[in-house]
Amino acid sequence: MTHAHGRSTGLPISRATMAGAATALALLLSATALAQPAGGGRIGGQSQPPAGQELPVDDTSVEQAPAPNARRIYVSDPAHFAVLTQLFTIDGDKGKLLGMSDTGFVPNTVVASDGSFFGTASTVWSRLGHGKRTDYIEILDARTHNPIIDIELPKDPRFLVGTYPMMTTLTPDNKSLLFYQFSPSPAVGLVSLTDKKLVKMMDVPDCYHIFPSDNNNFFMHCRDGSMLKVTFKADGSAERKKTQVFHKEDEYLYNTPAYSAKAGRIVWPTYTGKTFQVDVTGNEAKFMPAFEAFSDEEKAQGWAPGGWQVVAYHRESDRVFLLADQRAKWTHKSPSRFVFVFEGKTGKRLNKIDLGHETDSIAVSQDKTPQLYALSSAQKTLFIHDAESGKEVSKVDRLGHSPLVINTSDM
């Protein structure tokens, strides 16, 4: 390629010089386009000075997101298994997109229990879809969105699966991250965010999901229908103990249960709406009576849960939110248009909300007057509803290719 040279001097014209000239021209044209009406005013959101005066020179900066609160939302877009994906940060109060973060293949999001940071467990390759694989944990500051911790995981241990929130999680003190390994053997990786390293892969039996009940204990759900308690030390040494079997083989539990570590409550519906709840406070699994979300008559009419994240739990009000619709059998991951609200303790139905749109995933904020978040992958939109009335209060659209997973803080 031929470099550009000034004819008169023979000196090369630097790219910076050209870029500077182009920028100046662009600014000039821009200023012309914004030429103010006589007497000043506002055009295009800019304050316009009175006639005859120039616009002031602008200062430029990089924004910081506001301090996170219970209505801070993170929406992950796995983009139909693309290797380069995005995580969207949203302010639920304002219904406003605050920022975006880079994520990789089937990323798992975590959010600190005080909201102070968020992060992802992700996988990338050196040549986009191929080449050297790298699994890593990246933790970002909730305000600046700058990385504050970056940990490469040796031996590529991540379970690559359509993103389930409770396959990667934080301990309540936010000092350790736990992630699941599927192959070559089932294990849970213990990552110290303090020491910024993978401590150990802790062997587990054929169990899945990770529910930390305190900083040294977590529960898993096993193939045989029991729960597994794992008690671990800082060095990754662990003891394991199984509970009783609590559901039948043909009671298929959704891949995306709701969990509040602060309440110590796991809420876990089946494909038909039978909803199991496990109280793990005190590091003991106590199985609450399961409730049926739908009567036999409603089941005969086709009412059943459906979507990706089909259940949410509000800690203070002890309310269970279940995404459901009338559907044929084996459409358990197809979107739904309704949310049924139940009292957790009794399973009593309190409300039925017509969202008015197809919804793949739901979540709730944990403040006193919670918001209900309803994500439509097809519309690429997060709808924000009042959780009590069900009324839509705002929405955020253009969320990537196929946004699927909502994460909020249990703050």
């Binding site: 693309a82 070559p184 053997s185 358990h332």
Partner: protein, 187 residues
């Protein structure tokens, strides 16, 4: 360190009779063997009765909650009968076929399975979905999300959310598309 093999576990835990204990360190685990183990998955003693694909119903494309209605003439359509539990892209749309991966991708040796109903001969067949790996999909062609007989992740042999690229050449684990070969008759 050699550890217990995931596929050893799968083989071992197809029946809940043996599912109540910790994973063992067996022969397949000692050979390492995602590949060897993965190759066993289609041979596992799958229950072929309970989740046979169904015929006759509303169009699932028009109604996401409608009953699965398979057809036997358009391989690139999501309701083609063999695709009854596919979650991803049909390889036939991307340079492959029902049984072959597109050029440049790597064929996994592991799979998940489903029983799909062929409306033409009115028989159900066991389909062993195999992923083609090692190439990105920014915008996949013929993306489908079918869940006939699809079970939760703790029954992974029927789970279609998993990236089933285990055993692919070069350890390719990025997902590109899925093929739908028949491995036997169901039912």
């Amino acid at each position: 360190m050699l550890g217990p093999s995931r596929f050893d576990d799968l083989f071992e835990t197809m029946s809940r009779k043996v599912a109540g204990h910790t994973s063992r360190r067996g022969l397949i685990g000692r050979v390492g063997a995602v590949v060897a183990g993965a190759a066993l998955v289609p041979l596992l003693p799958v229950d072929r009765r309970g989740r046979v694909g169904r015929a006759e119903a509303a169009d699932a494309v028009a109604n996401p909650r409608g009953k699965w209605t398979p057809q036997d003439h358009d391989v690139q359509a999501c309701n083609y009968w063999r695709h009854c539990s596919i979650d991803g892209n049909i390889c036939d749309c991307s340079g492959g076929s029902l049984t072959s991966c597109p050029p440049g991708t790597k064929l996994a040796s592991s799979s998940w399975v489903a029983s799909c109903y062929n409306p033409t001969d009115k028989q159900s067949y066991l389909i062993s979905y195999r992923d083609c790996c090692g190439r990105n999909v920014t915008t996949g062609r013929c993306g489908c999300f079918n869940t006939e007989g699809e079970l939760p992740v703790y029954r992974p042999e029927y789970g279609n959310d998993i990236i089933w690229c285990f055993g692919a050449e070069d350890d390719a684990m990025s997902y590109h598309c899925t093929i739908s070969p028949i491995v036997g008759k169901a039912g």
